[in-house]
Symmetry: C2
């Protein structure tokens, strides 16, 4: 897959968005779609869509457009593969609990296989079929269960130490909700989710709109 | 504020990130910081930082650097103003409940003032000091309480109708967690948060890493 190395971050970040829109077409039973139709729906240009898809091989046929079901499967396969991913959640507070119950992750191929917390009052309780385990068992669990992703919903002060520990234990990617840009010396994919940042951008735009009126 | 109109989306999106990093410097008691020091911490270039800040006036002094406390207050003020924002949550399911309890929003000036749901079993219960109200009261509440932002944590099928209703009632911005790109004919700021998209990007990168090894 040598040629895939050159695919830019921006193209990769558009893939899940394609999957969502094509999923909607699939839901309404549409069988084929042209790059122009898809472009209009997604507020993009047809040529950008064709170029994005060209990185991954030939999805369409000149003059015919794309077969919706095939296109959906192709993009889903590029993103999640056949097997999907096993995911643990570390930190069973409000956000961690909500994420453990969030069915949309499972639908996209991300299966919650374990939930961990430090609080003795939470350990042993069940969230969405997962018994909350002690954080002391974390390293052992990851070593034995070939876990792909850890969702970190921890206080900022604890996030980095736990991250280093679980990367050493073999975790393959981190999905971090602590309000910090988690960086490690290990070369491992990390997504930092900053809900407050997005809310602040919204606030800024609201302020600007009202000033302009 | 005519000149502010030309500030690009990318610059605006970097502001909350600046605020986080400068907040960390403030926490450890640092009094001044140069653009070069900040650049290194944030993996940016000093000239980009200086250029970003220049859109908002002059934050620093040539050869001295930035006063950390002042810089923090300036950026906070650009983003949230003095008063902050009033926020309602529509949909008190798992995610809506977690967000209602998420203290980080309040710290950044986003104050949850109301929570709404359609489920009679939830209406009347209290989350983090907010009594859950019926969605029937939504329009009235917004009209009477001058509400800035609605966080939508609703099923996809209900999101657009509710969004149109509350925009008509006077809401100023939408923070949408439904797995769809919410678009309205009204000219109103909307942030669509796609947690699954980010998780899929992480999954893609994990797959690529393991293929390359």
């Amino acid at each position: 897959m040598q040629e895939n190395k050159r695919i830019s971050e921006a193209v990769i970040r558009r893939l899940p968005r394609y999957l969502r829109y094509i999923g909607e077409l699939k839901e309404i039973g549409l069988q084929k779609v042209s790059s122009a139709e898809l472009a209009e729906k997604m507020s993009m240009t047809a040529s950008q869509i064709r170029q994005d898809f060209s990185y991954f091989g030939d999805f369409g046929q000149q003059g015919y457009g794309y077969n919706v079901d095939q296109l959906y499967e192709n993009i889903k396969n590029i993103l999640s593969g056949d097997e999907g991913f096993s995911v643990i959640i570390i930190g069973a507070g409000n956000l961690g609990t909500a994420l453990a119950k969030y069915n949309n992750f499972g639908k996209k191929g991300f299966h919650i296989t374990g939930v961990f917390d430090i609080n003795p009052k939470l350990i042993g309780k069940t969230i969405n079929g997962n018994v909350i385990m002690s954080i002391d068992m974390l390293d052992d669990y990851i070593r034995k269960n070939n876990t792909d992703i850890a969702i970190l919903s921890l206080p900022r002060s604890e996030t980095k130490d736990i991250a280093v520990r679980i990367v050493d234990a073999g975790i393959k990617g981190l999905f971090n909700f602590s309000p910090m840009d988690l960086k490690l010396s290990h070369d491992i994919p990390i997504e930092n989710i900053h809900l407050s940042d997005s809310l602040m951008v919204l606030g800024y735009k609201i302020k600007k709109y009202s000033e302009e009126k």
